[in-house]
């Protein structure tokens, strides 16, 4: 493809995103953690809806998910289901997290953990280990962004340059406007992704079948390759147990950027309203996945499954749509990497460096902004350029760990008796099991490694909590006045608060 239009359209998107991100500051000082970190807790329901939606839809939707459809079939829809369940999680926990933040001044997930268990060490531990998974995720998205620029430029922008360009753009507006930039750019990126996904999907269906109905595609798949329409999928590796445990583990992975998004809302009600409609956004996945199914019969010899949409678009779609696809995919990867880089910087400053170096809030606020630069250019960029083979492994272990922090949240929302040592013991056991069952013996019996980790983590957490001192009653009461505003119960019966 020799047309300059795809690259021009993609670069125009980047320029628009930069302008939006820079203008998001709107004259405010960004040196406080409240402003740079959680946008002064000011986001309305529409911005929050698009912020969470775009943040959760990564380059995976435009590349990986169609690739899964191409190689495995309908098994890919477990992603759409767990994303909808994450909305249920946001609906229930989001308003409470917002109230914790508003009343106790938390700006990060780890600071809430440190406060609940009165343990800065536990907060720092949570911040550090969550950072591993978060950075791995940001690196994967950056590689995706650079790859899009490489393809759209016909190879003129090499991967290393693409990495530097994308990170430099994000760095400029993230430094300038913090969480407000993420909110505004994600709103733009969310709308763009929805339009691009449906435009590309419908055009691809039309070019493949002559109509606009997805039925033509699936009728052909049913006749020629019906194994793609059921579990365990065409690869035979997506069993019911893996489907189920992947959904459950993903559902309970409270990643730090999501926590930050909840705390950026203007009110508890705003979060509930946004979460209610959030599942509707995931119709964005359907048309892209359909292109993956088209690839099964139109691109049968594809070397890399996750390039199926790009390959099909370049062979069959007009150059303007190819450019829009580049912009949409870049939007998906940028909108997902920004919140992770932001939250790592915020949490390392607030929960690790501030207590260790005994910094003031003012200095910590400035430090959080500056820290994005070494994180991006000394950690994310070299890893993205090197494309280490073990990165996916790092990500799996990191995300597996994220779900192991579940006891900390059980103690925050459901069980007053949870103790600091109980949480620590549960996390350590769960983490070791997850690492072992990801690296040494991957997913025994087709059950997700993180689920195995949880099965040992939770009993250890309960047992050690019961054997060790609980957090002070005053702190527990403070949290549970929000977590259980209508009173505690004993086996479901109302008790006096």
């Amino acid at each position: 493809m020799n047309s300059p239009w795809p690259l021009l359209i993609t670069l125009t998107y980047v320029a628009i995103a930069m302008v939006i991100g820079l203008r998001a500051k709107a004259g405010r000082s960004m040196n406080s953690l409240e402003e740079w970190g959680v946008a002064g807790r000011s986001m309305g329901p529409v911005t929050l809806y698009l912020l969470i939606a775009a943040g959760s839809v990564s380059a995976y939707t435009f590349m990986g998910a169609p690739g899964w459809a191409y190689s495995k079939g309908v098994a890919v829809f477990y992603v759409a289901i767990y994303l909808a369940y994450l909305a249920l999680i946001a609906w229930y926990f989001g308003p409470k997290v917002w109230q914790f933040g508003e009343q106790f001044g938390h700006v990060t997930q780890a600071s809430a953990i440190a406060d609940r268990y009165q343990s800065p060490a536990l907060g720092a531990l949570a911040a550090l280990v969550m950072a591993i998974g978060s950075i791995a995720y940001a690196v994967l998205q950056t590689i995706g962004s650079a790859y899009i620029l490489f393809v759209m430029s016909g190879g003129l922008i090499p991967i290393w340059l693409g990495v530097v360009l994308v990170l430099a753009c994000i760095a400029v507006y993230l430094y300038a406007s913090g969480q407000r930039a993420i909110g505004r750019t994600n709103a733009f990126q969310g709308v763009l992704m929805l339009i691009v996904a449906w435009a590309v999907g419908l055009w691809a269906v039309h070019s493949a079948t002559g109509g606009l109905s997805f039925a033509g595609v699936f009728e052909r798949i049913q006749t020629e390759h019906s194994e793609f329409l059921t579990l365990p999928g065409a690869g035979g590796d997506m069993s019911f147990s893996f489907w189920t445990t992947s959904i459950i583990v993903s559902m309970f992975s409270f990643m730090p950027p999501v926590w930050t998004q909840w705390m950026s809302a203007s009110s508890a009600r705003t979060i509930r309203r946004s979460a209610t409609w959030l599942p509707t956004y995931y119709v964005v996945i359907l048309p892209m996945v359909v292109v993956g199914f088209i690839g099964i019969f139109s691109l049968p010899e594809l070397a890399r499954a996750d390039t199926v949409v790009l390959e099909y678009a370049m062979q069959h779609l007009p150059v303007v749509l190819v450019g829009l696809l580049g912009a949409g995919t870049l939007a998906a990867s940028m909108s997902s990497s920004e919140p992770f880089i932001h939250s790592v910087s915020l949490s390392l400053s607030k929960d690790v460096l501030q207590p260790v170096l005994k910094l003031s809030n003012g200095v910590t606020g400035k430090l959080a902004r500056l820290l994005i630069l070494p994180i991006m250019f000394l950690v994310v960029a070299p890893l993205a350029i090197a494309e280490p083979g073990s990165l996916v492994m790092i990500l799996l272990v990191g995300l597996g760990f994220a779900s192991q922090v579940l006891p900390a949240f059980i103690g925050m929302f459901f069980w007053p008796r949870a103790s600091r040592l109980g949480v620590m013991a549960g996390i350590v056991v769960g983490f070791l099991i997850t690492v072992a069952f990801t690296t040494l013996w991957p997913h025994p019996m087709g059950i997700h490694a993180g689920f195995w980790g949880l099965m040992l983590n939770l009993p250890v957490f309960v047992a050690v909590s019961l054997m060790t001192p609980a957090t002070g009653a005053e702190v527990v009461e403070r949290f549970f006045r929000i977590a259980a505003p209508r009173g505690f119960t004993q086996r479901g019966r109302r008790a006096v608060v």
């Binding site: 309908v74 829809f77 759409a80 289901i81 909808a84 369940y85 909305a87 249920l88 609906w91 308003p95 109230q99 109905s213 997805f214 039925a215 033509g216 699936f218 009728e219 049913q222 019906s226 194994e227 329409l229 059921t230 579990l231 019911f240 147990s241 489907w243 189920t244 959904i247 459950i248 559902m251 508890a268 009600r269 509930r272 209610t276 409609w277 599942p279 509707t280 995931y282 119709v283 359907l286 929302f413 459901f414 069980w415 007053p416 008796r417 609980a470 009653a473 527990v476 549970f480 977590a483 505003p485 209508r486 009173g487 505690f488 119960t489 004993q490 086996r491 479901g492 109302r494 008790a495």
Partner: protein, 75 residues
């Protein structure tokens, strides 16, 4: 500490909890096994149609939940 666990304190709350659990069950094993057939519904694979039914059912349950929470003025 005397208090054990946070559980719903009203019928509506219990109803909502049961609805949430039912939604999770609808998207996982064993229910997902019952719709695991290579048939098409409205031109889409049954598993895809079921997935989106579960997804939109989540919206409906949360809308009902909003009504309950806001009626009780329970933030």
């Amino acid at each position: 500490m005397r208090r054990l666990l946070v559980l719903p304190t009203s019928r509506a709350g219990w109803g909502l909890l049961i609805a949430f659990l039912a939604l999770v069950l609808a998207g996982t094993w064993p229910v997902i096994g019952w719709v695991n057939r290579a048939t098409l519904v409205m031109g889409l694979p049954l598993l895809v149609v079921w997935s989106y039914l579960v997804i939109f059912a989540c919206v409906v349950v949360m809308l009902i939940g909003n009504h309950i929470v806001e009626r009780d003025d329970h933030e």
